[in-house]
Amino acid sequence: MGMATSFLPVWIVMFPMVMTLVIFYVEHHSEKMRNALAVATSVVTFLSVLVLYPYIMAGSIIEYNMFQLLPNLGISFRVDILGFSLALLSSFVWMLVTIYSIDYMCKEHGCNRYYPVLIFTLASCMGIFMAGDLFTLFVFFELMSLISYVLVVHEESVEALRAGYKYLIMTIIGGLALFFGIIITFELAGSVSLGGPALITETSSLAFFAFISFLIGFGMKAGMFPLHVWLPDAHPVAPSPASALLSGIMLKTGAYGLLRVIFHVFGLELMQQSGWMVILAAVAIITILLGSAVAITQDDLKRRLAYSSVGQMGYILLGMSIMTERALIGDIFHIFSHALMKSTLFLAAGAIILKTGKRSIRELGGIGRQMPFTMTGFTLAALAMIGIPPFNGFLSKWTLSLGALDAGLPFYVLLLLFSSLLSGLYYLPIIIAAFFGPELGAEHEYVKINEAPYKMLIPIAILAVTSLLFGLLPINLPFDLSRMAAKYLLKGDF
């Protein structure tokens, strides 16, 4: 492994950052150029992550220390199998979403703000997954959270600004909690670097404070009850491609942070001894039930999707708290599945809103006949969400359930089943009405609704098909990656 490889993480993070500036400069001259550069940046970033594949698969861990801020505190990068998997997933979804944005955003205002922010958020997201220490993770986490505020309030409506304010305050609370957790870790361990042996080795009240702080900080981002309050407001008001990223990718950074904290800061042993996981399990169960139950009552399509995200993030949090190998595999695989499914759903919802201007589910009767491709994509992802067999959502729930049984917790399996039933309750009516329902309002004003442009359809199609493929194929890259990542977290090797 040469110097060039160890520099790759820096490149992957810095390249989009630099391109942000370039786009910022170019956009005043040519819109076409701006869009092309944004797409090119996301493609190059994805390919750069892909270059790491052989090295990661060979079991090597890529490390790079950038600079020291204070003694034992600095910006460093470290890519292991878990970070790589999520970076690959994120850059892939990001690439598709950027392509989708071109046609979606062409009628929107403020594109000159949207694209630089989109690319900068990509950079900080990559930084989170490739961080070599808690401090770097924190820096990029804060950057991503603060910058994505601009995406949330993009519409600049009163509603958006109010949701944005909520988001901002929660972000600050989360950031401060993380800061507190990190500083306690630093005080107890003298270092915050990830990947070595567990940093905190003894239970103490300070260590417990740290655990709670991390839980608040990362849980806030992951939409964990009771800190999820910002999510159902912030995700729907953003433009749909941004919602797809917020729900599909950025929520996962919270889950990722928690995984790092559990396995690298505290370590498996301490977690099992202390029994602190009960707290996480309890809030995860509430999160699942609450998210799914509230989603049923929502009439706004994007709000329903947002609440569904809350419920699904509950699965991921629950999977973490079980701490058996299969549960962890299912957990990480669900991060993949949910990212793919939820971005499909949001992108499809975006296409519908763009073409019809309707957001209310009651008005979406017959839409499947008018926009067959979009709704097929939506249907595939929704079925995967419910957990119907050939889809990836089924595979993740199956593995999670096996993991729960390994740990002797059959109650969790029932919970997963029940929540799947709830998912069915809120997804199936949309699909049925879309394909078989009457067209509401059609008798007054019949407007011919066209299918969305192909630059929007292709990303939806690719994402929808992945939901199917990654549940069906025998050679399943995300599943393999999840298996290796879980093994790596538990045993330090794969």
């Binding site: 801020l69 204070l70 401090f135 820096v139 603060l146 901002l168 909690a177 800061f179 306690i184 404070f209």
Partner: protein
């Protein structure tokens, strides 16, 4: 003897001397006073830099005024804390003065310009003097010069509001000076010395003989300096004074003047009074709670303000609490955080006040609710304001994060995690009152005067850019200043 050996005296005396020439220069040729004042301050800044280099390379040294050895003569003692304070004051002071050169003609009557520079240089000279002196009576003299000059630059606009605020300041500050003088008299009475080093040597013995005198002196000192540094609940004069003064004055008052008193108190508490004193009296505990209240109450008052400069002024009340919290936690890390925050807050708050001044200069608007959309019409001041707001909240990669890091680390290390919680709570409160301004500035449509601002001259834009850059630079590379800060705090702990 080369001039370099007299540098410690020169950095004080040169601005003091030129201060009185300023009205003459102003009368002589238009604009000369500006250039001279800038040159004089640049000299002081360069001198402080050289002294900083000397101290870092060869260790602290002392300078005897007129070659009279202490305890009779006045001694300047140039140690890490002294050069740190001198650098902060002259550096930030210089940047503010550049800004003032364009803002003042807008705010003041033309014949007052020269006098303003007189007051400004006097203020600077007295602050550098307070930083360097090792003599308690000399300290008092500088405190008086500083108080009167500060009063002058508040009242110079001559509006009713300014005069009222200046009068309030004058009365309270005179009260503080009185306390200080009494404290000095009490100390002189029991020790027979005015030089810090000699007082420190004589105090343990005097403590045994006259404990009440020393306790009274300590109490008077705390109140005297507390008033001047606007430590809660002695802060009542600050919001009026800092908000009604011309913007460069506000920047220098909030950014620098209240800090230099904190430095003076730090030196007296850690270097002059014996450590055994703190075992019999809970001074540090009192200071700890006063600063906690300052942090929480100051932030809460700031939330409800409508006027941008008043809000910034209340924020200063809270921020000076951080500095004192760092002193009072009795932990090296916390002390480093406190000292570093003097520097960081000087830059942040100066930048915020200058940005507010830029808004007022270009649009005449100072109500927060009317400043919506300003980010679209005045990007540079608003971006500076945003960086300042981020630094106030303590977002990583800004300088505010670094001081917060050390303060919280110190609180946890000193096993007082409650105060770590206080700092976090206050960061949240900072977020609540700073971020909506930033958000409204960028994400709302501008109306009225905000929509068509007057063009901002480059002399006012460049200082904002420089300070904004510095806030980020010292957030990314804090080691530039940490060497000095950590040695200063280690020296105070006798490590």
């Amino acid at each position: 003897m080369s001039a370099a050996t007299h540098l410690p005296a020169l950095v004080i005396v040169v601005p003091l001397f030129f201060a009185y020439l300023m009205p003459l220069f102003a009368r002589w040729r238009e604009g000369w006073s500006t250039v001279t004042a800038l040159g004089v301050l640049a000299f002081s800044f360069a001198g402080s830099l050289v002294m900083a280099w000397q101290v870092m390379a060869y260790g602290p040294f002392s300078y005897q005024m007129g070659n009279w050895p202490p305890p009779w003569g006045i001694e300047l003692y140039i140690d890490y804390l002294a050069v740190f304070a001198a650098l902060t004051m002259t550096g930030v002071g210089l940047i503010i003065l550049v800004y003032a050169s364009k803002d003042l003609p807008h705010e003041l009557k033309p014949h007052l310009l020269g006098w303003y520079y007189t007051l400004y240089l006097l203020l600077m000279a007295s602050m550098v003097g307070m930083a360097l002196t090792n003599d308690i009576f000399n300290l008092f003299v500088f405190v008086e010069i500083c108080a009167i000059a500060a009063c002058g630059i508040i009242s110079i606009k001559g509006s009713g509001e300014c005069l009222e605020a200046a009068f309030k300041y004058l009365v309270l500050s005179a009260l503080g000076s009185g306390c200080l003088l009494l404290a000095i008299a009490l100390i002189y009475m029991v020790t027979g010395h005015l030089n810090f080093t000699f007082i420190a040597q004589a105090l343990p013995e005097a403590m045994r003989l006259y404990p009440n005198n020393i306790l009274a002196a300590l109490a008077l000192l705390l109140v005297g300096i507390g008033v001047k540094a606007a430590l809660f609940p002695l802060h009542v004069w600050l919001p009026d004074a800092h908000s009604s003064a011309p913007s460069p004055s506000s920047a220098v008052l909030s950014g620098l003047v209240i800090k230099i008193y904190a430095v003076a108190l730090l030196r007296l508490l850690y270097q002059v009074f014996p450590a055994s004193l703190f075992e019999v009296t809970p001074v540090m505990t009192i200071l700890l709670w006063m600063s906690t209240l300052a942090i929480v109450v100051g932030s809460m008052f700031a939330i409800v303000q409508e006027d941008i400069k008043k809000m910034l002024a209340y924020s200063s009340v809270a921020q000076i609490g951080y500095v004192f919290l760092g002193f009072a936690l009795l932990d090296v890390s916390a002390l480093m955080g406190g000292i570093l925050h003097i520097f960081n807050h000087a830059m942040m708050k100066a930048m915020l006040f200058l940005a507010a001044g830029a808004f007022i200069y270009s649009t005449g608007v100072r109500k927060l609710s009317d400043l919506v959309g300003i980010g679209r019409t005045m990007p540079i001041p608003t971006i500076a304001f945003t960086i300042g707001a981020m630094a106030m909240v303590g977002i990583p990669l800004t300088n505010g994060f670094i001081s917060k890091w050390y303060l919280v680390l110190g609180a946890i290390h000193g096993e007082q995690p409650f105060f770590a919680g206080v700092i976090l709570l206050s960061s949240l409160l900072n977020g609540i009152y700073y971020l909506p301004i930033v958000v409204n500035a960028f994400f709302s449509e501008p109306h009225g005067a905000v929509a068509e601002p007057k063009r901002l001259p480059p002399q006012m834009q460049v200082p904002l850019a420089v300070l904004g850059f510095a806030c980020l630079l010292f957030g990314v590379a804090p080691s530039l200043i940490m060497g000095l800060v950590s040695r200063a705090s280690q020296a105070l702990f006798g490590l």
